[in-house]
Point group: C2
Chain length 563, copies 2
Amino acid sequence: MAYTAPVEQIAFILNNVVAFRQLAETELFAEATPETVTAILTEAGKLADEVIAPVNRAGDLTPARLENGKLRSSPGYAEAFRALADGGWIGVSANPEHGGMGLPQALNAAVMEMIGSGCLALQLNPLLTQGQIEALEHHGSDHLKETYLPKLISGEWSGTMNLTEPQAGSDVGALTTKAERMDDGSYRITGQKIFITWGDSDVTENVCHLVLARLPDGGAGTRGISLFMVPKLIPDENGNPGMANDLRVVSLEHKLGIHGSPTCVMSFEGAKGWLVGQENKGMAAMFTMMNAARLGVGVQGVAVAEAALQAATAYAAERVQMGPIIRHPDVRRMLAESRAEVFAARAICLACATALDMARATGSEEWAARAALLTPIAKAYGTDVGIRVSDTAVQVHGGMGYIEETGAAQYLRDVRITAIYEGTNGIQAMDLVGRKLADGGAAAMAILDEILDGAKAAQATEPELAHQVWQAAETLREATLEMLDRDLPERFAGAVPYLMAFARVLGATYHALAAMRGGNAALARVYINRILPHFSADLAAARAGLADLEAVEDAVFAGRMAG
Amino acid sequence: MAYTAPVEQIAFILNNVVAFRQLAETELFAEATPETVTAILTEAGKLADEVIAPVNRAGDLTPARLENGKLRSSPGYAEAFRALADGGWIGVSANPEHGGMGLPQALNAAVMEMIGSGCLALQLNPLLTQGQIEALEHHGSDHLKETYLPKLISGEWSGTMNLTEPQAGSDVGALTTKAERMDDGSYRITGQKIFITWGDSDVTENVCHLVLARLPDGGAGTRGISLFMVPKLIPDENGNPGMANDLRVVSLEHKLGIHGSPTCVMSFEGAKGWLVGQENKGMAAMFTMMNAARLGVGVQGVAVAEAALQAATAYAAERVQMGPIIRHPDVRRMLAESRAEVFAARAICLACATALDMARATGSEEWAARAALLTPIAKAYGTDVGIRVSDTAVQVHGGMGYIEETGAAQYLRDVRITAIYEGTNGIQAMDLVGRKLADGGAAAMAILDEILDGAKAAQATEPELAHQVWQAAETLREATLEMLDRDLPERFAGAVPYLMAFARVLGATYHALAAMRGGNAALARVYINRILPHFSADLAAARAGLADLEAVEDAVFAGRMAG
């Protein structure tokens, strides 16, 4: 299952499709030139191909396990992680003050895509660490920053995110983990958390938990929640891992995929923690981490889609049934549609990352609003494409795709979680039509204006494609205005199809721009003629409202009543 | 994971939506009254709920295995299979002369759906046996019929289908297994077959293999292929299992799902076989079996979708996150769309089965052509719905859906094979636009006329729904005429989306008919307003041709060139 990092495809999007080139004109990212892009992508690609991808199968076959309460990671993971950390890849966009490279998030996203293509289960470890780095950079005290950032950036330590409790999944406000103030300024954390990715590790010397908990006088709901740094080993006065903290891994989950990533039930038993940000403002700090992670998960979808598509392509080129099946029209259709979707999802993720970078580099609120709007789209569409393309890749393999040894099924099993964690895709869509349209649609309209500008620009060289994008954008604008007129339950009923329609229109735009700028016009046609048209069915569903859904009895869903 | 057989939903479709009631007016199926339907469905439902479903999880956790060359099936399978066989459920539509019930295939399909909801891996065993029964009824000599049919129908013996070889999957004509004529009128079979479902069994006392092989003077391709009955134990003069035949299971595959179903590599080492049908006409006999099995696999998709949807509904009713999540608009959307698709897929499968029955009861070529056209649609749409609904059911479970103990992931893993085996869904679609349109579109047009009649009938009570169905049918007619004008490679490039469009229009029609006849109008609206609209995007893809697919370079699929 050889993977080859798609350096050229990614570089083309960065340099020609999204606003990445504007970054090099800012002071902060003056170094982000096309040369840097190529150098970084080539190096990271080599790591992904040669070091990360080779451990992917072993992690599936030999999951992480607990041995007398100690975590044992999958064979080869420690070495692969060490190579990744030593290459500096955890700190691509971290602050140089603490050892990071200070490069744009967009470049980090591209690097993380490659590593995720290599091995998703292992990539989760640096992904969560990067989220923690960002949360600390924004909200940590100087002492926390000095103690933790260098170790996290170097990969000596890793980071986790502790939100979920059995009764508090999507409803984070229902959490009950307790925090008590101690005389020395620290806190005592007590409670149980579930679904904690890489909640323990033997590939790093310490594991740093960011834990959401409630102070005795914290109110109910999300407003009474605070965020704490709770390390597995408490740093001593020299900043080295010292005494064991009062926390432990209770058990690991037995999952559909990402077997190499230990998913832990964690018990905090009066563990020592330090406040991150302000008391009762934990959700704000957590959102920093979650937003970065959401984009990161969208990128994971693209990552697995790329790897699965490469595997399917290789199989189709070799498998002969009345000629190589890659020449069969239906197999070609599957591969072409998949490639067109991977391009679109990748462009959306990189556009989102670039917007984050532009916001940071220029302080522009428009860029920040754009990034905020694109984040749920990148997450949900990226992961949906991840699942769809991995599923198609199994299909291209025919009967061999169902045999585990082939590896195609692993991609499908692994990627399936991405539509669920970091907020299910339904939650992403509700975020889009709720919070992200709360500006009265300003950010959405700004993007739609840009799409129309793009379509206008493409008209000279690709008139037919440009025309379809234009029409789609106009229809999406109407649907957006209609959405703004509705109450939240009505919006929520149409949220997922609305998000998907938005993604398809964006994807079509990026394809048209690419075709115009020397990219693959045939691929753009595949997307715009075959995939974009579903946007209008999506919008029909988005507009269909709540009444028909309410009118179907629960007993009908349950099969207990004539449908 | 309690499953409750949806007796009322199935009975409603049989009695009100498809042509099942016409069957009771024929001599052959005079007994197929609504009372019989209810009695059969209720009994089979009880078996599925109480006996079959309880072994489903055990089969996943403890796959079938080889022990010193002997097959050991999963815990509880033998008892569950015995109950199924003793209830007479293998022979629901088999000839009463040999112990069958002689009831319509449509009723058998409904029964097999329920058993498949209970445990897909186990249901495969009677499904393949039923295909073998049908092949023998049509093509077997009297001696073969007398020897094998009573044992197969009673479930004392089971049947398999041996087509695939490593180099001959979709290209059956490439097979190399050899048959030699022996002096006693039997044949010697030598070769290796792969992907043989239930290729051995300890739940029956004998296993009967129907094997495709080539005689020394059989020509190349599919025309030189003959079909043989090759039993594991050779029946003695009293018809009891006697000497072991020269064949063995080499190994079992390690699969994504249906772990309880042993998927065997079979080696025939000069095994004794008897000709079924005529020499070199094996493909014709095999097609009888394959057509029945294709519909049966479509039904499997519906079966797993039903079970997965019931599980998701139960979870959504219990899981509280700011109220039970079944009240959340987006969760409701997922459940309602899933239920609407299950209804549509089930109606298409039962319409296909009923057409088969009408063809048999009346000898009508129109009904036969209708059944032939509906078979690939039932197979591909039924299994696509199976995968889509099982995938949505995982999503409804949120994080719990990714944990294997929940059982939701098993449905997704199990059902994934149904889009691949018995001819991939791509092969089904090519069959539809190739062989099934080879009549110049007569059968397709006949169905479209019926759809228009249905829409006309529904106009009085459901004008809006009827209008949409009408329009969709007209567009589908245009697309069909266009398809007929194209050469095969062009048709094949659009085959899958064309099939999906056809299925959606059919599904919408059955929903409209149901709404008109006292069924669930709200569910019909969900389908027609949210799912049907995708048909026009499907038709856009169906019409997009081959040129853009050919224009994308293979290196772009492989990620080795800027896309």
